[in-house]
Symmetry: C2
Subunit: 467 residues, 2 copies
């Protein structure tokens, strides 16, 4: 069976872009989350036509298709859970055009997001979404997961910048959604439906991104607090002053200690919480807003407030934030990285719930994240060979999801649902809400070809399964 | 037949909110666009439960349901084209809560958009979308049409501010979409699918809007140009300087003359184009950016550049813009108000095409609009009793749509498709694209109950029909 359709695939893509050897298939069997699933074949299309023909053939042979960028997904987005075809889109990257006059970028899906940042900057333009994986992850992957990074509060998420796409539908049709204008209400908004659809509703083959003028100046501050409640109050008070920071990054005590243990940068290991706050905009306003933000932090009881005066000082502040990921990785072989998001005012409550969960399950749990938009990243460091601890981690993750939803938040701010959070969809949206989503999937993809096994729980799965 | 279901409706809503008399039905038979269609019955629900029960009953009796806010639609959105039930949502307006800490508003669908502006301002917050009908149109109508007004370029459209909704589905289920956080990637984005769906995919019964801190300062300029090409160059050059104005409103010569004829405010009637530019933000940056924008306009060959130094001067500048609508209305009994939108760099080409169309069809065509996002509002002033001129107007409107799409733009920037532009959907998105939309509609609304006869052309309609 597999042989027949693989043979047919050879009529669409040349041999050098079609691989069936075990080593190659194995290297496409995992992503940055959990589980390994061997596909039958890996193909690397490099045109709309090829993608369309592959998907049509997959429908004909009833074989699943798993689109994949750089596979940095933390929720299982690209995992080929039912085998079949992996569509490696990472080499589909010929186009990166900046249209300065209309302030848009037209980009192939395999282009790295950081390359878009650089290309835009050459024209004095700015593409704000900036997932921490931006230097390795593809724009196609970012779009299908709607992963966004620290600037969501001020600049919105990836979705707010995608204004048009070329898409291959689950039945292999080639369609154009949206256009080249910010304002567009012609028909249902398929663009925004497909952004964040985790590759289940279409494969993006070209995207039109809105850009904005480059930021003229930015200023960065690092403040430490005795407790995360103090830190939370500072965050709220800064916003109350009418300041909209470009970033407000939060780290808890465990995270601060992890960074200091990994590479001492002089962070106070006794601080309950740390806040990195950046304002950007016109040089005059940036100075004034930073002054005000510092005062707010001091009034909220900050232990220390340090405003970077030079570019070097600014880089140093961000270094402590960028060291979080390697520091956490060093703490143990397995990292469970969550992104439960709560309304900003509920951050202190969520921090309390996370502390309780850490204690109850006796786990190494550190918390950092994008405080401005309530997008926390609780990370559990464990070892997947330790099955007893992994069971506790599963229970802890379930409780994290429950806490986020109970506090009026959501399962996922930017990592997606994938395989990991599928059992919790009904908890957040109810049967009727999930049914509406399934209805769209079934209507567009009658043979369930595109990325099956994601978002909707299969086989009666009712809780997180990491093992 | 009608009697049976109307009788059943009486079991859901009390008599004072259910009307079958001809006078009442007649007053719900039109909107601000074209055509008159008499419904069987008008009901004014005021709870989710009632809306849900009405829709379930409509499915049972196979009767169409036409949700309606203030009926300011310019594309036929609320017209009851197949009779049935008009659901007047304008009295469903109990809730208007501002949550200052989380910077969100929670609002009932019948609340007027300008009331949200005022309520937010009381808390130092700002809701940027501002359709010119904001003081009479409901937030529910704004959301279902995604109408946005002048601030799209800097602040995005209505869609960018809707983060959660309570919705009654076309089969009468009550669901919650999105949530209270800006970042949310849990499942398909039903919120953004329903925003702009013209009431065909669901009836909004509560909405959660994201707010931003109030703008601290704004400054406004009026510049006039000999030609719209000069004006277009000024617009592009302002953006190239890294300035993102809150508004850039454009008027052509015919529009300037219309305003001056209506009420002389001292606009130069020989100017080819007029630009109202407003910057907002921090007081320091506003002064600096306005200085730079003025210089850009002068370099681009502006005839006059006038920066408002007082609030009174600022109000005067905006007065000339706000007089466009009454001035145009005075020019003739029938106004055809379009909103074809093109990539900003194509505004001069579009202006040229509009001048050709004006000449070819010998029509009174004035153009104004939101230049920053390419959202033009060509208005044809005519008299619907003059059937010969109306025929020419129909052809002219068709050519306007064709020109917009040919220039890489879209049929509608914010007015919606409704009855008026339905025949042109395929021109913009192709058969396959429109089919994807129809598939969602059919899957969610198997009996075609919610607002049927909109967006998708019926009965072989192939062009604009105004008569």
């Amino acid at each position: 069976m597999a042989e027949a359709y693989v043979e047919a695939l050879r009529g669409i893509v040349p041999d050098e872009r079609l691989r069936v050897d075990l080593a190659e298939r194995y290297s496409y069997s995992f992503d940055a989350s959990f589980g390994e699933y061997l596909p039958d074949v890996v193909v690397r299309p490099d045109s709309d036509e090829e993608v369309s023909e592959i998907v049509k053939l997959a429908n004909e042979y009833n074989v699943p298709v798993y689109p994949r960028g750089s596979a940095t997904s933390l929720s299982g987005g690209p995992l080929p859970v039912h085998g079949g075809i992996v569509l490696d889109m990472s080499q589909f990257k010929h186009k990166l055009e900046i249209d300065k006059e209309n302030m848009i970028a037209i980009v192939s899906p395999g282009v790295l997001t950081s390359d878009i940042h650089e290309a835009a900057a050459e024209y004095g333009l700015f593409y704000p979404p900036d997932p921490s994986s931006a230097h390795v992850s593809t724009i196609g992957g970012n779009i299908l997961e709607n992963s966004s990074g620290p600037k969501g509060l001020k600049y919105g998420t990836t979705k707010e910048y995608v204004i048009g796409m070329n898409v291959v539908t689950p039945t292999g049709e080639r369609v154009r959604t949206g256009g080249r204008t910010v304002k567009n209400v012609t028909g249902f908004d398929l663009t925004r439906l497909i952004v964040g659809s985790e590759g289940m509703l279409g494969i993006v083959t070209e995207v039109t991104l809105r850009l904005i003028p480059e930021v003229k100046a930015r200023k960065t501050m690092l403040a430490t607090f005795e407790t995360s409640v103090d830190c939370g109050r500072a965050i709220t008070n800064v916003l109350s002053k009418g300041i909209l920071p470009a970033a407000m990054e939060f780290m808890d005590n465990a995270c601060i200690r992890a960074v200091e243990h990994f590479k001492p940068v002089g962070l106070p290991v006794d601080a309950g919480a740390l806040l990195i706050l950046e304002v950007d905009g016109h040089p005059y306003s940036v100075d004034d807003e930073m002054k005000e933000a510092s005062e707010v932090c001091e009034s909220a009881g900050a232990m220390t407030v340090e405003v970077a005066e030079t570019e070097e000082q600014r880089a140093n502040i961000w270094k402590s934030r960028k060291m979080v990921s390697p520091a956490v990785t060093e703490m143990g072989p397995t990292k469970i990285s969550e992104d439960a998001t709560v309304p900003r005012g509920k951050i202190p409550d969520m921090m309390e719930r996370l502390a309780e969960i850490r204690e109850k399950y006796n786990l190494n749990l550190v918390v950092f994240g994008h405080a401005g938009d309530g997008n926390l990243h609780p990370n559990i460091i464990t070892d997947k060979r330790n099955t007893e601890e992994m069971k506790r981690a599963e229970d802890a993750v379930s409780e994290i999801f429950e806490a986020a939803v109970e506090l009026g938040g959501t399962l996922s701010g930017e990592h997606g649902i994938g395989t990991l959070k599928a059992p919790y969809m009904v908890m957040e949206y109810g049967e009727a809400g999930v049914e509406l989503m399934k209805t769209i999937k079934a209507a567009w993809d009658p043979n369930n070809i595109l990325n099956p096994g994601k978002m909707f729980a299969e086989n009666g799965q009712t809780k997180v399964e990491l093992t």
